[in-house]
């Protein structure tokens, strides 16, 4: 159900667009109104989420250090996995976002009869990298529809993407990459028992949605051709706020509608990892908290057991040991307030209990260290 459900949901969404633009010819709705709304929802939603995270405090400097820290000058620091400067953090984040550094560490653990075996496992890293990079390049390629004249960098990107010159129209590597990547990510969720166990409907839904978008796009490009001049006219119209929806092929609207669904869904889902990764305190902070004080905006005073209290409670013992003393001994009088007396009693009793427990434990396991 957690797999079929999302699949059906995506099929239904595709059908809505098909029916809406095939039999019903609601081109303005599906080509102009919904895309505008979806885009606005995406921008607003994305900003809300980012602001929302930004509003939460970062009380402590807690990078996960994954290499040698900056220490003595003759010890070589791992500046990318354990950065101590802004430049280092920039490098770490760049590696993380562009090359999935942490995922590259991935290993797999297998249980054997009398032990465990840890082996290298780079497939997730590779599959994720192929999908995300394909997706990025495809999105960038789509800018050709919104810009006139088409900038040289887009043409260059298309040239590289289609460098093998196979097929007509030329097959883009990223079209293969995104389908292969998504299929891999889907299959591992189904095939690897552990991953299937942790997967939820909301993990399958975006995969199907993205696959639907990719498939509709591929069908348009390679099989049922659409009127590209009408598509470009619509896209340019959308960005110049004078849109005309002259495209009539329903498959185009299926593609666009699924993209709209993705845009609306994106900010409120796990897909926000795209924005969230930049906010991760274990990655985006320099490991320099011994050299530079980090300030907690909500740091507050706490109740402490002061040296004065400590000395007073241990005064006689400390005096007998010849330890230096700072204060006059205040003999414990009959407690003026009932509450304080009760507290002291509780403390005494607890101490005695703990000491006994500690002694017993030491005798048996020597693990009483705290």
């Amino acid at each position: 159900m957690k797999i079929i459900g999302p699949f059906i949901a995506v099929c239904v969404l595709a059908c809505i667009a098909w029916l809406g633009t095939g039999p019903l010819s609601l081109y303005t709705l599906f080509g102009i109104i919904i895309p505008y709304l979806a885009f606005a929802a995406f921008i607003v939603g994305f900003i809300i989420r980012i602001v929302n995270w930004g509003r939460s405090a970062v009380p402590f400097r807690i990078p996960t250090t994954a290499g040698q820290e900056k220490s003595l000058p003759w010890i070589k620091q791992n500046k990318l996995d354990n950065p101590s400067s802004k430049a280092g953090v920039f490098g770490r984040m760049a590696l993380e976002v562009l090359l999935f550094r942490s995922l590259f560490r991935n290993a797999s653990t297998e249980k054997t009869e009398d032990g465990i075996a840890i082996g290298s496992a780079k497939w997730l890293w590779l599959g994720a990298l192929i999908f995300h990079w394909s997706m990025l390049i495809i999105v960038l390629r789509h800018f050709r529809l919104f810009l006139d004249p088409i900038p040289a960098w887009i043409s260059a990107l298309e040239g590289i993407d289609g460098m093998f010159q196979i097929g007509l129209p030329v097959i883009y590597l990223t079209d293969l990459g995104i389908v292969a990547g998504l299929t891999f990510l889907f299959l591992r969720r189904v095939v690897v028992p552990r991953i299937r166990y942790i997967s939820q409907a909301i993990d399958y839904f975006p995969l199907f949605l993205l696959l639907g978008i990719a498939c509709a796009g591929i069908i348009m490009r390679y099989f049922t051709k659409v009127d590209m001049s009408a598509v470009k006219e619509l896209c340019l119209g959308l960005v110049s706020f004078q849109p005309v929806a002259n495209v009539t092929e329903p498959i185009f609207y299926v593609h666009v509608f699924l993209v709209c669904c993705l845009l609306v869904y994106f900010p409120w889902s796990k897909l926000m990892h795209a924005g969230g990764v930049f906010f991760s305190p274990t990655r985006n902070m320099a490991n320099n908290s011994r050299a530079v004080r980090h300030v907690n905006p909500w740091n507050y005073e706490v109740k402490k057991h002061t040296y004065e209290e400590y000395e007073n409670e241990n005064w006689e013992k400390m005096k007998a040991l010849g330890l230096p003393l700072d204060f006059e001994h205040v003999k414990e009088e009959e407690p003026p307030a009932e509450a304080e007396g009760a507290k002291a009693d509780a403390a005494e009793g607890a101490n005695a209990g703990a000491a006994e427990g500690a002694a017993a434990e030491a005798a048996t396991t020597q693990d009483s260290e705290g």
Binding site: G67, I198, S289, Q366
Partner: protein, 556 residues
């Protein structure tokens, strides 16, 4: 106490998964896998809320009437106060990269010990009460209601996490289960649901200055006893000072080093070194704990316990602080202390009085790690070492989780180790440095009643040790963590009998040549040294280690 299963029984599990989803599996409280419930007086002594008598095996945990409101309000507060918490609740994509990285998952096969699912225990509640999708679609988006069973499940599994951060190193977004466990435990503590093993040391540390509850006479007695032993070994009697005003350096150690073997040998190593150098240092009976079980309770409690270190440094008028070998203690010194209780502007930037090295990495905290200090001494040829005194040891090095992934002190201990012993072998790459595997007993899980959990959680580490036992004949695990020293002997006895556990400075103490008449026949454990040596041999050994040093090992 539950009977500890034998090795075959312990390994009789696999990574297969139950047919029903994790939300539909009820938590079975298995003897030996959890700690005793906290006794109310221990919470009351430190003003923790909702102290009450309860037991994990009870049906009714005696939660306060408004427990649900307390938890939800507690979550709301923490989502505002910790970006890590909010972000980590939101961005997980369940890619599963963390799933098989947790030592508790590797040692139990329990799917809820996959970090992703342990986080989902809390995330599901977050979704239900703090996200629109969760309120509208419920379990369809992985949300579920907060019930008393959920609280019990949290308690069982958030105390099956050692906050080691290994999952965080592998997560593409850096999601850190330690942060989630910390939040989970804070929430449980709002309901008075700590473990006795954590609350006891917290109360001791608050009232008496250290986890084990040592009073001033007990501390001085223990130290005197150790100094007597040192005299037997070295012929020198050392008298470390306590609470002495005007000393240059305050030495703060984990109290385990004052309390039980083999930590005491490590302490003897510190003292030998510092006394040999003639340093102007003192110890404190008040700040007699560097470790902090408050960190396994709540942020506030951790800050309360930590406060005495700077307070005592200020009172005694020292210039800077030197810290002993301890894992979570150093995570806190590195990432929390200055923020909690700083700025320490009454202290000075630490400078080694022996080498003149300015510890720039400690410019603000003013606290130096003992291993950094010793590595600097060795690099500058300021001490004479005879590593052959450790020749009967074939040593491997276990990076403690906190110093590896919450600090990054990886090369210094190895550099020291290579100068104090002749036989050092690394465990497999996947199990050391930033990928180090936990001892299985950190974050306050080093009790006796949960021994099965500890042996399971430590199993992956023990496996890695076994691999170097088989290949190189390793017989000693060196470390820089008091919890390791306290708990790994039991772990080794169970999985790799015959393998010992030592702090790094015990080996330093053994190798340290105090003067030309330092002819020892026994090591700090008063075991016979591998061979009786002549002066000539000692002189040769000293010449060999004191040669020009280009720091090659450090950079390796």
């Amino acid at each position: 106490m539950a009977k500890l299963p034998n090795r075959t029984e312990m390994l009789d599990f696999d990574f297969s998964l139950p047919p029903q989803g994790w939300m539909d599996t009820t938590t079975e409280f298995k003897e030996g896998m959890f700690c005793h419930a906290v006794k109310p007086e221990k919470l009351e002594a430190v003003n923790m809320p909702n102290a009450h008598k309860w037991s994990a095996s009870d049906e009714d945990w005696g939660l306060p009437e408004d427990w649900k409101a307390i938890i939800l309000q507690g979550m709301a507060d923490r989502l505002e106060k910790y970006r890590s918490f909010k972000l980590f609740m939101d961005v997980c994509v369940r890619c599963g990269a963390c799933a098989d990285k947790c030592h508790f998952y590797m040692g139990t096969g329990d799917p809820k010990n996959m970090p992703v699912l342990r986080a989902e225990l809390l995330r599901s509640v977050y979704k239900r009460y703090f996200t629109r999708a969760g309120r509208m679609f419920g379990s369809l988006v992985g949300a579920r209601d907060l019930t008393e069973d959920v609280i019990k499940e949290w308690w069982y599994y958030f105390y099956q996490c050692t906050e080691c951060r290994r999952c965080s190193a592998f997560c593409p977004y850096g999601i850190d289960q330690a942060e989630i466990t910390i939040m989970g435990r804070e929430l449980l503590n709002l309901l008075g649901l700590n473990t006795d093993w954590i609350a006891g040391p917290v109360e001791n540390c608050y009232m008496r200055g250290n986890h084990v509850g040592l009073t001033p006479p007990a501390i001085l007695d223990n130290v005197e006893f150790m100094m007597d032993d040192l005299e037997t070994v070295t012929g020198h009697y050392f008298e470390p000072s306590f609470n002495r005003k005007g000393a240059e350096i305050l030495l703060v150690c984990p109290s385990g080093d004052l309390f039980a073997e083999p930590g005491t040998y490590t302490f003897m190593g510190y003292i030998m070194l510092l006394e040999h150098l003639g340093l102007d240092y003192t110890l404190s009976t008040y700040a007699s704990e560097g470790g902090n079980f408050g960190f396994f309770t709540s942020n506030e409690m951790a800050k309360r316990l930590n406060s005495k270190i700077y307070a005592e440094a200020e009172r005694l008028g020292v210039k800077w602080i030197l810290g002993g070998e301890c894992g979570h203690m150093w995570r806190l010194m590195q990432q929390y202390m200055d923020t909690w209780n700083g700025p320490a502007d009454f202290l000075e930037q630490p400078v080694s009085p022996i080498t003149g090295t300015v510890f720039e990495n400690a410019a603000s905290t003013k606290m130096v790690h003992m291993v950094e200090f010793t590595a600097d001494l060795i690099y500058n040829n300021k001490i004479k070492l005879d590593p052959s005194r450790n020749d009967d040891l074939v040593v491997t090095f276990h990076d403690s989780c906190n110093t590896a992934r919450g600090m990054g002190i990886l090369e210094e201990p190895r550099y020291v180790l290579k100068h104090v012993c002749n036989h050092f072998y690394e465990m497999p790459d996947e199990t050391i440095r930033e990928k180090t595997l936990c001892c299985g007993s950190g974050s306050g899980l080093n009790a006796g009643e949960n021994m099965e959990l500890r042996m399971r959680g430590g199993f992956p580490r023990a496996e890695a040790v076994r691999s170097v036992v088989d290949r190189f004949g390793v017989n000693m695990v060196a470390n820089i963590c008091a919890i390791d020293r306290a708990t790994m002997p039991a772990l080794m006895d169970y999985w790799n009998p015959g393998v010992g556990v030592t702090g790094l400075h015990e080996l330093v103490g053994n190798a340290l040549v105090l003067d030309e008449n330092d002819h020892r026949t026994i090591n700090l454990r008063q075991e016979e040294l591998p061979s009786a040596r002549t002066d000539k041999e000692i002189a040769d050994a000293v010449a060999a280690v004191a040669g020009p040093d280009d720091g090659e090992e450090g950079a390796a």
